[in-house]
């Protein structure tokens, strides 16, 4: 495996509306051609990290105040999303955000916005090859498609841009286990066949660590742990907090957790 670093985040801090500090010195490196997964609970700052890279912080009044982000050796922190997407970084937003009133085909065409001459015919065939479900529903308005189809749609839409770096924000959110498995298999295929580097933000740590090469764990706006995916899977803390297994390897039971019982009275 070549070890050419594609994305380097050096000690960045992100502040929203000039007062709310969300990231407090996050550093990570993404090697070209690999899948990196970013784990952590809600509010840990995973999405913010992705948005800092893709430039989508600005419309939300967020700013990288410290540190720097380098893509392919060039600094990109606080650049506009138009510039960043044209360098080859495409983020797939959390919670599947299709263009509801556009058909599947039109949705895919928007993906070519960053490319010269907006070619779409051949790429569309490639997307339909990865996601055969979409081919069947070409002319359907996206608003009427199911969650699984939409997740495939937004991923396909991003692929239309021929990204060098794909940022996936929780692709498994709210999907049936079988669909999740299918989507993860496709992510792996995209990585090997298109040589797309992928940063994968996930709550589903088990799934994410199965396909990722390397992983980072975030908590409270900081990276608290990192390592090869296989090592992380074996790490006792990760097991306990993210894979739901006790250190001994047994399934953890909520019966033993007092706070849970106490809380229940109020519900």
């Amino acid at each position: 495996m070549k070890d050419n670093i594609l994305l380097q985040i050096n000690n960045i801090s992100v502040v929203y509306s000039d007062v709310i500090q969300v990231l407090k010195g996050v550093s990570l490196a993404v090697s070209e051609g690999r899948i990196i997964s970013l784990l952590g609970s809600n509010g840990a700052g995973k999405t913010t990290t992705l948005k800092a890279v893709s430039g989508l912080l600005k419309p939300e009044n967020g700013e990288v105040t410290d540190g720097n982000i380098e893509f392919d050796g060039k600094p990109i922190q606080n650049s506009s999303p138009e510039t960043i997407t044209r360098m080859g970084i495409i983020q797939v937003l959390e919670g599947r955000q299709p263009f509801k009133y556009l058909t599947i085909e039109e949705n895919l065409r928007v993906g070519t916005a960053t490319r010269w001459g907006k070619p779409y015919k051949r790429d569309m065939e490639m997307i339909y090859e990865y996601f055969p479900v979409l081919a069947k529903r070409k002319k359907t308005m996206a608003g009427y498609c199911s969650g699984g189809e939409l997740q495939m749609l937004v991923m396909g839409r991003a692929l239309m841009a021929h990204p060098r770096l794909l940022l996936l924000d929780e692709p498994s959110l709210g999907l049936a286990p079988l669909v999740v498995r299918e989507i993860f298999q496709i992510i792996r295929r995209i990585n090997t066949e298109q040589h797309t580097t992928i940063v994968l933000v996930e709550q589903n740590a088990n799934m994410a660590l199965q396909i990722a090469h390397y992983g980072y764990v975030m908590e409270n706006g900081k990276i608290v742990m990192e390592g090869e995916a296989d090592d992380l899977k074996e790490n006792p803390d990760v097991k306990e907090f993210y894979l739901g297994l006790a250190a001994s390897g047994d399934q953890k039971s909520f019966k033993n957790v007092k706070s849970y019982k106490r809380r229940k009275r109020w519900l």
């Binding site: 893709s54 997407t85 983020q91 556009l102 928007v110 916005a113």
Partner: protein, 292 residues
């Protein structure tokens, strides 16, 4: 019967004019959710620009017409660049209030430059444009209004359905953040929609000027008439705007002709209220797709 037919024709061509005016309005609303209260004034500016080019600069009509359309297009760009862009990201109500301010400013500007008198264009539409349908003759300007209305509706329909730029414009209207994440140049889309809107508005201003003369107050009042039209047709449907405009146009001429000219301007609004009671999104408005 002749009277009925005459009213019908007048109503249809008036409807197409309102439709043209409404098209620009809908375009801005579709891409940026801004209600443009300065629409009537932009329309008037187009009419005055044409007037200046034809009477003062003595340009041939067709050149003057194309120049005024280009001028309106550029004006749309400039308005977006100078006034709207600094407000991107601010609450919508600020932007809408800004357009109210723009309306006042443009009106003042027109009064300053051209005064409040009623002007008329020299008669330039060729006689062969007039149509004779049995007992009724359709004056050339009405024929022109209908033809231009059809042509532009077709052009915009194709533009939004098939061209990449049109699809990007719709994607921005649909989900701005997602469009941005895919690299769609959102500010450029806004600028383009203002420019196209100003162009269409300018054109309807010119045609209205031919029909009823050029006067700031009358022309900018059409900007208000656009509201019942677009609300009736559905705020974000261009086809709906045309249908809404035809309904309003016909209602106006028929009440004017059969009931009383004084009621002309009231009946459309009354009708609007009843239609909205039945179809709150307008006749062709987007019904929010709700996933359950």
């Amino acid at each position: 019967m002749d009277f009925f037919l005459q009213l019908l024709i007048n109503g249809i061509s008036l409807g197409f004019l309102y439709g043209l005016a409404a098209m620009g309005f809908v375009m801005i609303f579709k891409s940026s959710r801004v209600l443009n209260f300065a629409h009537g004034e932009i329309l008037a500016l187009g009419a005055y620009l044409f007037l200046t080019l034809v009477t003062w600069a003595q340009l041939p009509v067709i050149v003057a017409f194309l120049l005024s359309l280009t001028g309106s297009f550029i004006m749309g760009f400039v308005i977006e660049r100078l006034f709207l862009r600094p407000l991107i990201g601010e609450p919508l109500i600020f932007v809408i209030m800004l357009t109210v301010g723009l309306a006042a400013m443009f009106k003042g500007l027109i009064l300053l430059l051209w005064g409040g008198n009623l002007y008329v264009y020299p008669d330039f539409l060729p006689g062969w444009l007039s149509l004779t349908l049995g007992p009724v003759t359709v004056p050339p300007v009405y024929v022109a209004a209908i033809v231009i209305g059809f042509v532009f509706l077709g052009i915009f329909g194709l533009f939004f359905k098939f061209s990449s730029q049109g699809i990007y414009m719709r994607s921005v209207a649909d989900n701005q953040q997602a469009a941005m994440s895919l690299g769609v140049h959102v500010r450029r889309v806004f600028a383009l929609s203002w420019a196209i809107a100003a162009l269409v508005a300018g054109m309807s201003g010119i045609i209205l000027g031919i029909i009823s003369g050029i006067n700031v107050h009358d022309l900018s009042a059409v900007g208000l008439k656009v509201f019942p039209v677009v609300i009736l047709g559905g705020l974000d449907s261009i086809g709906g705007a045309i249908i809404g405009a035809l309904i309003i146009g016909l209602l106006e001429t028929f009440t004017g002709g059969y009931i009383s000219p004084a009621l002309r301007d009231v009946v459309p609004y009354i009708c609007l209220i009843f239609i909205l009671l039945v179809k709150p999104y307008g006749l062709f408005g987007l019904v929010e797709i709700e996933r359950v």
